[in-house]
Symmetry: C2
Subunit: 132 residues, 2 copies
DNA sequence: TTGTCTGCAAACGTTTTGCACGACC
DNA sequence: GGTCGTGCAAAACGTTTGCAGACAA
């Protein structure tokens, strides 16, 4: 049985050609693509593919933990007056973002694997104590 | 001299009522607001305020390090097939996002200050070795 | 006075929604 | 036959742009 079929079945998800293609694309392309890139690439071999399906599928796969969503790049910015190095916690229920001060070995890191580091952000997500 | 005037002057930025209001708002509201919230709130006392100014100002303040931009919540999602705990590095020049495997004391953290933790993301930003 | 900042309106890119059709237990 | 998935189109949302007039230094 196909490896991707197995992944979907383990999570109780239905098997569709679109889902298999999207998983396969993400497995073969570890470039952290966005939804539109995936859509454009897969549309070449499957012209009837729609954006909606790509978005739906990515959402489901993320919910089931088969893939991981990142928000590292741009958009829906939040702003913080506290500029000293610290981390943040986002409550998935109430949406509140809280400052978190934890010991982090990388707060002053300037170089990592040859890359020059200018910022470091630690994002914790979960449910806050008020919403638990 | 006003504390916020001083902050702006130190960075060589011009003093405008709008900039002072925006800084003051962020200082008094440590709720990590988004641009539109800031706009809506400040528009109450300054009806002629425009979104453009809010966006421009936040951008400048962030560039000068007076405030800090966060992308923790939604939007322009990227997707990763690697679901094992790891961190990410974003190159500001070429835009590439790379996986980073560093020792992190929080990768298995389930609780922090009474909040239930489900995910942890470490985001490093800077210039990659190819762009340096 | 000069260069920058502001505000308006329009455009843009990404994501979400409503709905009808189709596929699959 | 009922549920779920797909695809289309339109809408929504946050952000960016171009430009003209206003303002800070």
């Amino acid at each position: 049985m196909n490896e991707y079929v197995k992944l979907l079945k383990e999570k109780g998800l239905k098997i569709t050609p679109q889902r298999l293609e999207i998983i396969r694309y993400l497995d073969l392309n570890r470039t952290h693509p966005d939804a539109d890139t995936i859509y454009t690439e897969l549309k070449k071999s499957n012209p009837s593919l729609s954006r909606t399906t790509v978005y739906n599928t990515l959402d489901i796969l993320n919910q089931q933990g088969l893939i991981r969503e990142l928000t590292i790049s741009r958009s829906e910015m939040r702003y913080d007056f506290e500029t000293r190095p610290h981390h943040h916690f986002l409550c998935g229920k109430c949406g509140e973002i809280m400052d978190i001060y934890v010991k982090c070995p990388y707060l002053d890191t300037k170089e990592l694997g040859g890359n020059h580091i200018e910022e470091i952000h630690g994002y914790f997500k979960g449910t806050c104590k008020n919403c638990c």
